[in-house]
Amino acid sequence: MHDLTQEQLAQAIGVNRQTILAIEKEKYIPSLDLAFKISRYFGVNIEEVFVFDQKTPTIRDT
């Protein structure tokens, strides 16, 4: 959708590519700070990127 690599997104928000991958794979729940950074990078609201599940928040396809 955004034609963006994990590496590019990781560099833009100051994390490792592995962290982006871990979030996508639902292995790691990002902090609120990182979640906001990701959503702001895409220029959307946080709830458009992340879904809060009672068990684990998951990332939507962006």
Binding site: L4, T5, Q6, G14, V15, N16, Q18, T19, L21, A22, E24, K25, K27, Y28, P30, S31, D33, L34
Partner: protein, 148 residues
């Protein structure tokens, strides 16, 4: 500094410490290796801070944090349990105060052996930490592979 340069420096410091340990034994001066060890660790920390091509993000911090907490939770219990036993051994509980030499039975654990065992426990802590680090790295997706 590049990450690989850091590993190279780390290896050199480890080798230097090994040499100094041997030299310290030769000279019968434990102070030499003790000071060298502290300086070596300070150098490693300084070198690590100057690495530029590696980002430590919040996931890395979490992995380190979790591994450290779990290691400490196990280590302090084991270490304290052994140390309490060792102190009792040194004070020869329950026949405290110590009886004069010749009238008391031989020590099971001498102070030297206690030191060796404590050093061994410290080494075990390193292995424990590495184990926990691998476990939490796996848990938080360190070894996941995926291409976008």
């Amino acid at each position: 500094m590049k990450k690989n340069t850091f590993y190279l420096i780390f290896g050199c410091i480890a080798l230097a410490l090994l040499f100094l340990f041997w030299y310290s034994v030769e000279l019968h001066t434990p102070l030499l290796i003790e000071i060298a060890f502290i300086l070596g660790i300070v150098l490693v920390y300084l070198a690590k801070r100057s690495v530029t091509d590696s980002i430590e993000d919040e996931r890395d911090v979490k992995i380190t944090e979790q591994a450290t907490i779990r290691t400490m939770q196990i280590f302090w219990v084991v270490f304290c349990a052994f140390s309490i036993g060792a102190v009792m051994e040194i004070f020869r509980v329950p026949t405290f105060p110590r009886q004069p030499m010749g009238t008391r039975p031989p020590d099971i654990l001498g102070p030297r052996m206690i030191g060796y065992i404590q050093l061994g426990l410290l080494c075990l802590m390193v292995f424990l930490y590495v184990g926990f680090r691998i476990y939490y790295a796996k848990k938080y997706g360190e070894f996941e592979t995926d291409e976008e």
